[in-house]
Symmetry: D2
Subunit: 345 residues, 4 copies
């Protein structure tokens, strides 16, 4: 922590800051500049809040020096974390595509989708049973019935399943059916939920909140890691900005930024980012080119009949084309795409 | 819903849109313009999603015409809703100030605060027992012990209490101690929690999410109202923008905008909005001048020792001055401030 | 400037930073912490760029300590600057309302407006002759003819005029007709224009850019002040955010923030901020309650026929009511409203 | 235009809207819904402003149907525009990389850079002589001397030059030295400047304003196109958001969005977007993968001594590596990189 004194701070005020810092068990280093006096706080004493210090007499502001996240930081864990999930590895050389509908709607819909995805080489099926929706009048998901349908196709097609959990009380239920628990963007700072999944050892796909900074995403991961669950996968899915042509603004820079700040795997969701199916392929290719470890893509056999997010869903045919494009881009950046067909390229 | 066809849409595509609209039980009104054909959808059939229609062949976009909220809308409930809470009314002629520390920290702290606030004429004490914090290493609140301390001072000083609930499982516990349940900004779209408080009849203070639009705030209120709980108070507390001099950007226009769109009471939280105690008084006066029905203000007897949000907390002395300023502004806009001393002005 | 070294920076890297800092004519103060080494840079040597230092080996980042503005800063000029303009003072005890149409459209329009405003006690007429418009197909203002019409009513009704200048080449022309030159939000960082008006001694109304921070607004003012023109009035007019119910988001906190950071007068434009006439009065009252030194309000005798910004214009009748409301709020915060009728309150 | 009447609008109000619409020379199509009446306005009469119509009695809002840009729209010009500039084509199959320092600083600096870039196969040199800087105390560019240095290396190395023009009065001067005139982000809505370059026939590189929407960028292009200059190249360079880890947020979706909305070439500037050299390569690869027609990349032989933007500049060595990466990604998306070495891949 660096304490910047106000222009004209008195020597008494400066002395008092030093006294308080030392009283809290720290060393204080004084630097008297031409216009400002600066005091560095050094050591491992009782926690000091910059917020509070900024209120001490004569203090202008207090600047934190250390990053607030530790367990998520690459500084303390230089090598990449790879999350293995029943044979699929997220965070390694292979880029993993997770695809499927926004919501499970019916046996036919999820079966048709799973079959098509399997053919395209997908190993992880996405699909929501519990859906957070802006309006109480919109389709809220099939709930437990949706989970059962997911398990049926999971078993039939030998797929893994990623699905959302919205409430601490549902974790065990969802974990019975799914392989990866998704924390949605709206729940990224639902700390009760973060604590609860941190107590489990299930793989967690943590989506960035729509107005969360990169640092806040890492702090949310820190909640889970600090409870002992190390199997955290981060997901960039677009942030809210003034631009409204797209549903959100996909923060492509967050991918290399996160890869340098943390050891955790980073995947991208171009479907929610753009909200428009015709932009999904370009953003998916971009995410792979920028270093993403995986993708989350919405696919629906009949987007115009989807009960949610139809406008951002690819048909299975368009998705199959995209997979071929992604294979080429992955290869261009020295990686490969998980799934059958990999050898062929 | 209005369907705008693409430039050059064929008559077959137009015919097909009309057919589908009628099949869903609606009437279709055709308007053939110079550059675009437009089709109005009229009636009460099976719900149609604009998202999906935008995917029909030849369609450029589908524009919704109606506001998505009903129960919260002033269109359907023209008169102001007043929420009575054990003798205090929120949403009426009197402006209600809720004040207190960010978090309950100790018996001494909450007692000293409550005593000072009572002297200033405050009737509702705020204070968190469960605290949502960005970092898992920060003070998370005293939990149930905090609730007990709140009840002690509530009884001793005859105050009402507003305090946060973070999880559906805690609602009944929190309601045993508090009079108003606060849903924090980070939980505004925690739909499990909204549903759960909607099933109760406790007064709910719903804070606007830091990146939520006015419409989304009203949709979150709609979740609660649609479950039968009509005692909802909305709170503007600043939104996230590029400006970082303040903690958030207080959206002053949201106050008159909400007052015109909804019948629900609207209060303001200048402390979280600004994050700087020296700006709180100006923004509090502004909120009253703009028509707020109440204020939520952080007061701490020793801000520089606060375990959270010290930088935005007023001392009891500064708060007492602010109360006098607010009385004058309230009077200037034809209202009064709740609490003793009102007669004197 | 504070230099934060990377975790694990070598003593050679630290030594090299010190060497370079001293070579540039500064003193280097070393603070070796538990996890990080910090080096304070002190003195008045050749300018050092934090941007560059952050690239030196072993450096994590370089934090500036001083505010980048000087002439605009209250630190160096504690007392309020009052800008006198032909008998009207902006920045003093009296709050000054500048009102009029977005654009001068015709002799009748500007005459009718001026007459009504005069009756309401307004002393400064606003009106654009050169209009920056998003679309090249929209009305671009009457240009020189508009300036002539402004001068006619200015003389007839003894008003001062504030009008926009968009290009360095137009400054002298506009100054022949207007008393205050407005730099619009889109030109806040048109540095050629800032330099050019800085060379004059005309009063300048500098509007905050729609995505400019408070600090950038002060830096833009610094451009003008550094060329010798001290007559600068700042204007908060709303910033661009994700909220689209209003045209912009009025940053009410910027008013007290600017008043504490700078000695320059600060006025507010609730018309452009909201874009909706029905919200203008509430935001105008709020701005006065928050400490604004003046207001810029759009008034049009027939808003529904306005060639620009009709939706945010008040009719003269509504404006007259607002003036009465503003008088009461001004009085509540210990100030008065400029213009006739002041005595009466 | 679609006019949505208020709930409960009277038949008299509806009749009056129809009368006014017809009086302006349009047809009015009435659709009476269950909750709202809607009136479609059809035809080519005197321009009607939706802003004004929204003020007519009984009207709730007026929704525009047509996009406001015409000349820039792909609807009216389906094939791609290719801008040929002395033998280099922007907007065709080849992706064009423009590289060089933020600012021309000295003969040595620009010479060393040009030599290195030439070796990497670059055909267009970027470099500013007039620099828009946030602070008046920062380096403002060498002005005319900078232009002369650019021409020297341009001739010596047979490069084209792109350089910024900040003021209408400088256009002819800058065009004597540069091949492409850049309009910077801060000037995207400097309409005087847009008009002035629209009157010339020089190629214009138009950068997106930091808080401008995609539509506003296209409207700015429309200003230039409407004056007859068809040689416009658009540039995505990041927008301003709440995320401050990066200098701006690169809007990757804007690339495919622009490519679908307009026929103009679209290039990307990952240097200004990220503000951090270590993120530039990832974002540059992403832009190519997303369909950009070119890139603008800052390269400086000694970034840590740069007079501006050192932190976002690549060294020539890093740039040479990036060029190889870009060649591979370009090939993966079916394109090639302009410049020597293309054949080799």
């Amino acid at each position: 922590m660096i304490v910047v004194m106000k222009k004209g701070a008195t020597s008494q005020e400066i002395g008092e800051v030093i006294r308080r810092v030392e009283q809290a068990g720290y060393e204080a280093h004084l630097s008297q500049g031409v216009e400002r006096t600066i005091i560095g706080i050094i050591g491992d004493g009782r926690p000091l809040s910059g917020d509070n210090i900024s209120l001490w007499p004569g203090v202008e502001r207090a600047l934190p020096i250390l990053k607030p996240f530790k367990l998520a930081s690459r500084d303390f864990h230089p090598q990449d974390t790879v999350v293995p999930i029943n044979g699929v590895k997220i965070g390694g050389q292979e880029i993993v595509v997770m695809a499927g509908p926004c919501a499970v709607e019916s046996r036919e819909q999820i079966h048709e989708t799973a079959q098509a995805l399997k053919t395209s080489g997908v190993k992880i099926l996405r699909g929501g049973a519990f859906k957070p929706r802006t309006s109480p009048y919109d389709f809220q998901g099939l709930g437990k019935e949706g989970l059962r349908l997911l398990r049926q196709v999971k078993e039939e097609f030998d797929l893994l399943v990623v699905t959302e959990v919205m409430s601490p009380g549902d974790i065990e239920l969802v974990a019975q059916y799914g392989d990866i628990l998704q924390i949605g963007a709206r729940n990224m700072q639902n700390f009760s939920l973060l604590h609860a999944v941190g107590e489990t050892r299930y793989p967690i796909l943590l989506k960035r909140g729509m107005s969360s900074t990169i640092e806040e995403l890492l702090m949310a991961a820190e909640y889970i890691l600090s409870r002992g669950n190390q199997r955290v996968i981060l997901c960039e899915r677009g942030i809210r900005t003034f631009e409204n042509y797209t549903r959100n603004t996909f923060d492509i820079s967050a991918i290399p930024a996160l890869k340098s700040l943390t050891h955790l795997p980073v995947v991208a969701d171009p479907s929610h980012a753009t909200g428009r199916w015709e932009l999904v392929a370009a953003v998916a290719r971009a995410a792979v080119a920028a270093g993403a470890d995986g993708l989350l893509i919405e696919v629906h056999p009949h987007p115009e009949e989807a009960l949610s997010d139809g406008a951002q869903s690819l048909t299975p045919e368009r998705f199959a084309c995209l997979m071929e494009e992604l294979r080429r881009v992955a290869k261009a950046v020295g990686r490969s795409l998980s799934g059958k067909g990999t050898d062929a390229t």
